[in-house]
Amino acid sequence: MKKIMLYPYDISNLHLLQYQDANAQLYKVAYVVSPRGWGYTGEDAGKKVGIETNYIVKDQFEYNLKKSDVLMIIDSRICLEDSEIEKYIKIASDMGKEVILLKEINEEIIKKYHESIIDIRSIDSKLKMDLKLKEQDNIIYDIKKPIVLVLGTGEQCYKFTTQILLREIFKANGYNVTQIGTKDDSYYYGFHPFPQFMLKNQISDKDKIIYFNHYVKALSENEESDVIIIGVPGGIEKYDNKYLNDFGVLNYLVSNAISPDFVVFNSMYVDYPEKYFPLINNSLKYKYNYALDAIFLTNSMVNWDATEDFQKLVYLTLDNNFVHETAKQFNVYTLFNEGDRKRFEQHILSTLEGYGKYEEF
């Protein structure tokens, strides 16, 4: 088993420490490193949300890399320049270490260091299938397998954590899963990241909807899955007239392509959940004819004061106990509470198994 050093760590990568079973035979995270100026050094990697991971965040890059086998470059909230990332890849390469990239970088850099960089896309050969979508095939297929849809208020609301949690639940209960995730980290966990064709301007919205439907169907058939989990990047609607969240267009496309059987919503922490949750539920119900089945109240809230100053969305990280207290009042789940996870597991399994009793023809 190879020892991984994560860099540059921040709280948006907590899932890489919490969920390691998928790659347990190949890899284990050994060191978590973050630039000192990011404010994580010297404390548990989960402390910002009030949980223990038993990893203490370090700031000495080379010292910890020497003790590791693999440098894993991760996608953090602070976006490092490609030139900066290349510097770290070069250090790893010079030390004879392997590199895993969970962040998109310039192809030229990947080519330059191809001997060191591991292509994690080939971890599971089944993912290499070539889907030949026929453009003239203008129909939407009814997908018979249960579909779980993971939505969120926006970026940074831990949607990916929910997606891995779902994967773990279904796998642990013996189900075969087809999964499309919101981040490139999906490759590392052995599933598909959100397909690039959904982001291309050259393809019409109508075609994207049809392609996505065909894509999901083909994946599910190819992988002989019992359940399909789809994470939708971004948010479901605009925050306000300035922060538009791409108007939730991706969810519009996905929600027209498939019909979910269970919808999970990762909510930003908000001041008025009693007003916000019904608002979101109604919005989805009237737009797409589905309702929310489960809500995770997450540890992020928008810091509007800083957002105004920096002219981009800035978030405030909250402690899990604080979030859990609110979640209890509204009978919703939190991501870092064991009791909540168990309750959620029972909820989703009993709901979907209940649907399975009555097969639709």
Binding site: P8, D10, I11, S34, P35, R36, G37, W38, G39, Y40, T41, K48, R77, I78, L80, E81, E84, D271, K275, M301, N303, D305, A306, E308, D309, F310, K312, V314, Y315, L316, T317, L318, D319, F322
Partner: protein
Amino acid sequence: MKKAFIYTFKTYKNYYIYDFNTNAIIRVEKEVYDILNENRNELNARVNAVTEELQNRGFLQSHHWEYIEHPVTKYIHYYLRSSIKSITLQVTQQCNLRCGYCPYSGTYYNRKHNNKKMDFDLAKSIIDFYMHHSYDMPELQIGFYGGEPLIEFDLIERIIQYVNGQAGGKKVRYRMTTNATLLDKKMLEVLAENDVALVISLDGPKEYHDRNRQNVNGKGTFDIIMDKLDLISKEYPQYATTVAINCVIDPRNNLKYLDDFFKNNEFMKNRHVMFNKISREGIKDKESYLEDESYMQRDLFELFKLLYSKVEKTEGIDISAIPIAYYSQLKTLMSNRGISTLVEKAAHPGGPCIVGCHKLFVDIYGNFYPCERVSEVSPDMKIGNIKDGFYEEQVIKLLNIGRLTEKSCKECWAAKFCFLCAQHADTGNGISIKKKLQHCQGVKYEAVEQLKDYCLICENSDFDNDILWLDDIM
């Protein structure tokens, strides 16, 4: 009908209601205005129809906040541990000038100039504290303050090197306000290389500047500063374009003459010039630098010319740069104010920033203050120190300064326009109800002027506006 929580006002053309609960401005007919203004219950079918319609649409509610609480209060623990936006380091308490209006000159309830300076190890621990308490922020923002910060330039350079070595890809923005008299080529090289946003204090033409900004021997500093500005332009022409000027206006000054200086001076052209009045917060002698009737008239005349030019779009009016900030602030204030029919159970008057996070000021001893503008000798302004961290209870107290005058604030129609923070309630010995209440009349006066100016501009130009025209509502 219960008394609606509104404020009525008129421009020379129209009649308006400012509706507190929704924060909306609604133009109404004179008839409606008269009745609402006098809060009369009159049998008038037309007026009754209008008020009923407005009520149906969520306006004219009688609701008042039940209690005062800043919306950030319940999250302040998390803000303080993760979201310090900006920090200002007092690198020295010494200054090489003795400006008459300086808060540290002895004319204010504050500390006085002295030879004490910040130690590098302390500076490092403050930077470490800041980095550890700003992990949710996309950038670091560090200011250098004094006294005159350039006196301790070596320290500043070491701090910059230290921060740059630790930031790890996080953008760092530095800033410094200086009298520039000590600036040399070596310093400029460091400042330009690190994109330090420089604000240089210059009070206008020589006779105005030298009247207040003098060295310890009483000699004016205008000529030195002009030489330094030349040096910046010559050595770092690109960097020179980013340098801003801070001009403090002495009420004795002729505003036209002051404005002409900045318009005609070669260096000042296309430069960002900030005009500020002499601060009266914490001043001991209430008579010094007092704005008399004649100054206020001149000030208002400049504003009038600006507004007239916007309204009539008349060319050839000599518009002063001095009131321009008011115009842009008015636009921002009004367009950001948010209109909602959501009833707020509790809230806080406008004014306080997120204490401790917005612009944390740290003195040479490592004591924390909300910003550099507060009195360093007032015990209530101290919100923590580098050893103990933040005093959260004190932060909450200053964040919720409106609780000091809760009854008045809950009754005040101008609470959402209020600009009072803890500084305005501070006597130099601590915060006081009486001191805070002294400002309330001024807040209301300014709110009325802002509402009228905004509506006046909207009535006559294409200034983006959100005034609700009653015709549209009906």
